[in-house]
Each structure stands twice: as C-alpha cells, then as structure tokens.
C-alpha cells in the first residue's frame, strides 16, 4: 500500500521503538555473560565495563559444557539425518500419489502434546535399559523432526511439474533415480528449510531429553536448567550457558531467515 511520506516516517519510528523491548533482553544477556558478578547486579546497568571470560570459563571448564554440547550435536544431527532419509520419500509419496488422508496423520502427530505419549516412552526405554542412551534420545527427537520434514517437503515436491519426472523416466531413469537426480535438486530450498527447522527444534528440545537422558547423554537445554537450579545466584555463568545454547539457533536463523519464515508460515497461509 502506498502511504503518505509522513505516515511512513511515523511508522518507521514506531517500528524502531518496538525493537527496543524485543532486542533488549538479548543485549542484556550477552553483556552480562561477559560481566563480573559485581557488575551484573550493579544499578544502573553498566554499558561500559571490562569484559571478562570467567563466566565462560566456569561453564566450559568447571561444568564440562563441551560434553553436553557434543551430546546436543550428536542427537540433533543424527535425528535430522534419519528424519530426512525416512521423511523425504514419504513426502514424495504424499505429493505424487495425493495421499492427503495419510498426511493428516503425520500432521496430527506433530500437533499432539508430547506429554501425552511421554510416559510410555519412559516405561519402555527404562525396561529396555536404554535410559540415558543416544538411541532413545535420537528416536524421540525424530518424532519432532519427521513430521516437520514431511510437512515442509510435500508442497515442494508437489510444485515440481510431473512432466519433468516422466521425461526423465522416458530417457531411461528409474523412478528412484529420477527422484534423486531431478526432483530433489529442484527442491533444494525445501530441503534447506526442513533441515534448518528440524535442527533448531531438536537442538531446543527440552521435554524428551529431560525424561530420557542422564549424565552421559544430557543435552544443553537440560544442562542449563540443572545449572540454574543449583547456582541460582551466579547469573553471569547462567547467562553464558544460555548464550551457548542460543548461538547456533540464532546464527542459523540469520543465515536462512527466508527459509525459516517460509517453512513456519507456509501451512498458515495455505490454510
């Protein structure tokens, strides 16, 4: 919509004003993670201070956050990988053979509250002595990633003209290789969206990891929560730990902003 210049300026000013409450918590968190305990609780907040690394040292050296980080990376990368392997063909099948009824089951699985199937997970995996194992965690995180992959990818596959695939098959490609060599590369942006989103969701997941992991496989969000409950007052270190979890997700969102937004709003606009 064309607006009068005076309106545009006014709107711009409002937008900048709203940025402050959105951004302020981030800046405060980032700054505090480099402050000493004394500087953190001093008021008014110090914007100019000597940055110290002691909070990060505490997190990485005393608390062994590298170990939890490794766990988080293993769980999210492996679960996203297997979700793509299972989910891409499934999305293809839904798009090509119009299996909309089945796709509803997949969507609903994503919307269900995790709490409603959490207890059997706990029962089964403790009976199988798979508590605190990567297998249990990766499987549970796949439940988050799998429906997401299908949900994002099916419309992408659907938008590639069927003739392209048929032409390739006439030229002697099997359906599988037509899928791998033609359809998948053409749906590149979709794969990026699905991968980024599933990674972020898995990286951020709290509930499954809280129930299924202990010391050996504990992921970052749980580590930060535990940290919070016994060092209540050491806010600097807690903020440093929070920055560690936040960084990869924020960086990914910045790089793939277009895809992330598209993936998350797609269902909505269609709906």
């Amino acid at each position: 919509m064309q607006r009068k210049p005076i309106h545009s300026i006014l709107f711009g000013i409002m937008l900048l004003l709203i940025i402050i409450p959105i951004l302020f918590p981030f800046i405060w968190m980032l700054m505090s993670s480099f402050k000493t305990q004394v500087d953190i609780i001093s008021w008014p907040p110090k914007f100019i201070f000597t940055p110290v690394m002691q909070n990060y040292e505490r997190v990485f050296i005393e608390q062994d956050f590298l170990h939890y980080m490794k766990n988080s990376v293993i769980v999210s990368v492996v679960s996203v990988f297997f979700s793509l392997i299972l989910g891409l063909p499934a999305a293809y099948s839904i798009a090509r053979y119009k299996q909309n009824k089945l796709s509803v089951f997949i969507l609903v699985a994503r919307l269900m509250p995790g709490i409603s199937f959490l207890m059997p997970w706990y029962i089964v995996f403790s009976r199988l002595h798979l508590m605190d194992s990567y297998v249990a965690l990766i499987l549970s995180h796949m439940l988050i990633a799998l429906p997401l992959v299908v949900w994002v990818m099916a419309p992408y596959f659907d938008s590639v003209p069927r003739e392209l695939e048929e032409a390739a098959m006439v030229d002697g490609l099997t359906q599988q290789s037509a899928f791998l060599k033609i359809l998948l590369p053409l749906s590149g942006p979709g794969v990026v969206t699905a991968t980024t989103l599933s990674f972020i969701f898995s990286w951020n997941n709290f509930m499954f990891s809280q129930v299924l992991s202990q010391q050996k496989t504990r992921t970052l969000p749980i580590a930060v929560y535990n940290f919070l409950s016994y060092v209540e007052v050491d806010w600097g270190a807690v903020m440093a730990a929070a920055v560690v979890i936040m960084a990869p997700a924020i960086i990914l969102t910045m790089f793939f902003q277009k895809y992330v937004v598209k993936g998350l709003t797609m269902g909505a606009v269609k709906g």
């Binding site: 409450p21 269900m112 709490i115 199937f117 059997p120 799998l146 299908v150 929560y225 606009v269």
Partner: protein, 297 residues
C-alpha cells in the same frame, strides 16, 4: 493414465516406515497412556487393575488441578490476544515497503529461534526480585518490590503471577504472528487497495473493510498454532517459574511431570496427559476439518 491401484500400493509402501514409527511411538503410546489412566498404577510397581474414571474424578476435585486448568485458560487467552493484535499491528507497520525492512523483520524473529529454556532463564532473571525490572522501579522511586511470578495476588481467579509468563511467551511469538500476517498482507493484490484509494477510501476504511476480512483465514491459523502451543505449555513454566507458591504458575504439564516422574503416580499422570490431549484436540480438530475440506474442493 496410471493404474490407480498399483500407485496406491507404491505410495503406501514408501510411506510405511514412517507411518510405522508414528503409529507405534505416537498413536500407540497415546493409547497406552489412555489405558494407564484407567488403572490403579499409583506406585512404582505396575498395577493394571482397572478403576474406571477414578483418576479423572480425583483430579477434577483437586484444588491443584482446578488451578492448573484456570491458569491454562487465562494464559492462553492473554497470549493469543497479545500475539495476534501485536503481530498484526507490527505487520501493518511493515506493510508499506520501508527501507531496512528485512533487517527489522529479522530482529523481530530472533526470539522465535530460541529454546523455551533460554527464554525461561532470561525472563526469570529479568523478573527476579533482586535484579532486573524491580531495580528499574526502585530507581523510579517505587519502594515496594513487586513479586512478579512469586506474587500470590489474584483477581477473579486470574493469578497475577502469570503476567510474567505471558510477557515472556508473547515476546517469543510476536515476531512469528507478524511474519504470518505479513505474508498474508503481501498476498493481497495491489490493485484492490489502489482502486479503493482511487474511490477515496481512507487508510482506516481500507484496513477495516478490505484488509481485515481478507486476512481472516490467517488470523484463524494463527489462533490454532498459538493456541496449541499455549495449551500444552510446559518447558517455559517449568524453567522460568516452576509451580510457584500455592500453584500460582502451575500448569497441567508441570503437575503431570511431578506426579509421574517424582511421585510415581503413573495413573494420575496419565490421566492429566489425556486431559491435555483433549484440550489440544478441541483446538486442532476444527482446523483439521477445515483443512481437509479445503483439500477436497
């Protein structure tokens, strides 16, 4: 033409591994939870004696669970209204193409990629009595310190302590609703607006009579998405406030977690989780029906 029957077989075959995973680990396990919720399994040892609806009856008559349901409803209402009104307002401001729009949009979307754990930690700190917002109030001359999420004050059943949680959750999802609305606004054909402008309609009239009706489906989707998030809220409250004094910030998810994994009351926990499922279903079933109808048209 393809042979439809053979096609369907292939399709199902490709889908099978994934459907199996979901049918066992989601739907099967939900059925299992449902089964447990009708038993007397309220200790460490499995006990599958059926007791009918006893667990549900006990829950609904418990003070704590009543508070939980009330909290969930209030939290959901405020969260929805703030995100939808605020998100629409933001998208509306961004609608006329401004310089630096993508920069602004990125910043509004920052909180969305955070884990609820990070949001919880961050806002717990901002609302903590010693540091954070209270220091600001003290500086402005208010001596009395507001307890925020530890306050036990309640207005007509609404626990004031929830405000802190509502602010944190809305902060995280405001950008998301903005992005949804912005996508919708951009989908409105320019000619429609332009012709209305030529006819002399002012900006308010255009918004009220053209834009709002056209983005109704988006408002509906946003309500579904946000509603199902807030009805199953767990992580944020668990990390940020816990159940709070006199359960002022308690939610069914927290109750379920505590009673199951700390207290070994499996049957009671299962009953809570089934009630949560029903709450979420009330929101998503109409959405699914409308989606399915849209597909068959």
């Amino acid at each position: 033409m393809y042979c439809a029957k053979k096609d369907r077989r292939i399709a199902v075959l490709i889908l099978l591994p994934m459907l199996l995973v979901l049918f066992i680990f989601v739907y099967g396990f939900i059925a299992w939870s449902l089964r447990i919720s009708f038993t007397d399994w309220n200790s460490i040892l499995p006990n599958m004696t059926s007791v009918g609806f006893e667990n549900y009856q006990r829950l609904f008559s418990s003070q704590r669970f009543q508070t939980d349901i009330r909290n969930t409803i209030f939290f959901t209402l405020f969260f929805l209204v703030i995100c939808i009104v605020g998100g629409f307002f933001l998208s509306y401001l961004l609608y006329s193409k401004l310089r630096g729009e993508s920069f602004l949009r990125t910043i509004y979307l920052f909180p969305l990629s955070l884990s609820f754990v990070v949001t919880g930690v961050l806002w717990r700190w901002i609302f903590s009595p010693e540091v954070g917002i209270n220091s600001l109030f003290r500086m402005m001359g208010f001596e009395a310190t507001f307890g925020w999420f530890t306050s036990t004050y309640s207005i007509g059943g609404f626990n004031v302590a929830l405000i802190a949680l509502i602010i944190a959750a809305s902060w995280q999802y405001l950008g998301y609703t903005m992005a949804m609305f912005l996508a919708g606004l951009r989908g409105i054909p320019d000619q429609l607006i332009e012709s209305a402008q030529i006819d002399g309609a002012g900006e308010l009239a255009i918004t009220w009579y053209i834009i709002l009706p056209l983005i109704k489906p988006i408002t509906f989707s946003a309500m579904i998405v946000l509603g199902h998030i807030s009805l199953k809220i767990f992580d944020l409250a668990y990390v940020m406030t816990g159940k709070g004094p006199a359960f002022v910030t308690d939610f069914p998810g927290l109750f379920m977690f505590e009673t199951t994994f700390r207290g070994n009351h499996y049957a009671e926990g299962a009953a809570i989780s089934i009630i949560m499922l029903i709450l979420v279903a009330v929101v998503i079933v109409p959405y699914l029906i409308s989606t399915l109808r849209g597909d068959s048209e």
